[in-house]
């Protein structure tokens, strides 16, 4: 199931660290919302939860970076970009192949 469109609510049942893990695993852009209300959109490619000062790293939506943000400065992360790993292209490919073969067979039979 894709997390695309998810706006997590950080609280007693969901920690920021858990959301960061999901964002790290997500193959689309996310929006980091800072504790000061600022927002950065981009691709989060790294996190270091066990660093002395835990942080995430990302490239923004223009490809600039890497930008390092301390976890202490993050309020939440929204999953705003398209999930590029979602979908099932293998199945789609097989279905397309079957359809094309059936069409060719029908054409040659006609």
């Amino acid at each position: 199931m894709s997390l695309e469109g998810w706006t997590p609510q950080i609280g007693p049942y969901l920690t920021l660290e858990e959301v960061v893990e999901h964002a790290f695993d997500y193959r689309g852009d996310i929006t980091v919302v800072g504790t000061d209300g600022t927002e950065i959109v981009g691709y989060l490619f790294n996190r270091a939860a066990r660093a002395p000062e835990p942080f995430v790293e990302m490239f923004d939506d223009a490809g600039q970076g890497p930008i390092r943000i301390r976890l202490a400065d993050i309020a939440t992360i929204r999953f705003t970009g398209k999930d590029t790993a979602a979908g099932n292209s293998w199945t789609a490919w097989l279905e397309r192949q079957d359809k094309e073969r059936a069409e060719k067979a029908a054409a040659s039979g006609a």
Partner: protein
């Protein structure tokens, strides 16, 4: 087995130097990913699913050279994405060849004929063409018809122009040992120097999750496929790795053996898993919690993995770690009996 003698000597002397220096962990092959964009979207690939701004980015020549310098491995494999889509790939290769690195430029060959004139034949450069089987199997694997024929055409042209050409083949569940044996015949008849084989790894981001091989199936497939290998088949990899795939060895993974560098940095812990990035090679080696990876660690992501990037280095180390390993390698190489 066919790795050129000069390459064998280079690798052997490198390993001996590491042993003398009492280095416990050292890299054998740098996996240098200069970009993620590709002109194919293969079902088994988990490398290219990124937002547009990431797919547009690429490493500079200088970044590539710095990574190679930091790592120090004698062999550099350049996968991707499709490396031939990098506008300066020829400059990267030229610089690495000048440093006397053995370069394996991995390509699906769609752009190979067009770009070939940018390169100069060298014993330090091999085009490693991705071919996953005969026509039907390969075109299915890459999700596009006609790719096999174009790859074959490009291989012929590249061989004719004096380049080293190898093939790299990833095998998935459902592969037919008999068809693969035909495939080996076909590739050798094209004049390739050697073939490289590996079972696929189940990338969590790959679209096709149903056709990855599990460990016992991998061993059964390779045991049948490589039983009584023909003398004309040449494999550009450690024979002990092939024996491992056939179930004749039980190796543990060496994730640092083929470290990966790309636009995100040094990938932890290996070419296949993405568990974060280090800013330098030294940081990668010193701060990665290696005990969390490999089959014996219990890490579920490692349980079915038998991929070359984790185990080929183990196989090569096995050759140099004991007289028995060395003699076994020599015997298999000479007799060609896997």
């Amino acid at each position: 087995m066919t790795v050129p003698v000069s390459q064998m000597v280079t690798v052997a002397s490198y390993i001996v130097r590491q042993k003398f220096a009492r280095r416990q962990r050292y890299p054998l092959v740098l996996m240098l990913e200069p970009l993620f964009r590709c002109n194919l979207a293969c079902a088994g690939c988990g490398k290219i699913q990124y937002p547009a701004q990431i797919l547009r980015k690429q490493l500079t020549v200088e970044q590539c050279l710095q990574a190679v310098e930091e790592c120090g491995a004698p062999i550099v494999a350049i996968p991707g994405g499709e490396p031939l889509m990098h506008p300066e790939i020829h400059r990267i290769v030229e610089a690495l060849v000048a440093k006397r690195k053995y370069v394996y430029l991995c390509t699906n060959a769609l752009l190979l004929k067009e770009k070939l004139s940018l390169f100069t034949p060298s014993r330090h450069l091999s085009f490693s063409v991705h071919v996953d089987g005969l026509r039907d199997e390969h075109d299915d694997a890459v999700c596009r018809e006609g790719v096999y024929d174009r790859a074959v055409e490009a291989i012929r042209e590249t061989v004719a122009r004096g380049f080293r050409v190898t093939t790299n083949t990833t095998l998935f569940d459902g592969a037919s040992p008999l068809r693969m044996r035909e495939f080996f015949d076909e590739m050798m008849s094209l004049g390739v120097e050697g073939m490289m084989l590996s079972p696929g790894y189940s990338y969590s981001k790959a679209p096709d999750q149903e056709h990855f091989l599990r460990r016992t199936k991998t061993q059964a497939l390779f045991a049948r496929m490589l039983a009584n290998p023909k003398r004309r088949w040449k494999f550009n990899q450690s024979p002990l790795f092939l024996r491992f795939l056939m179930g004749k060895h039980d190796f543990e993974c060496t994730p640092w053996g083929m470290p990966t560098y790309n636009m995100f940095g040094w990938q932890r812990p290996c070419y296949l898993l993405q568990d974060g990035y280090a800013a330098s090679f030294q940081e990668l080696m010193e701060t990665t919690e290696w005990h969390r990876y490999g089959r014996r660690s219990g890490n579920e992501k490692c349980q079915d993995c038998m991929v070359h990037s984790g185990f080929e280095a183990t196989a090569v180390n096995h050759t140099f770690n004991s007289l028995r390993g060395f003699l076994e390698t020599v015997a298999v190489t000479l007799t060609r009996r896997l």
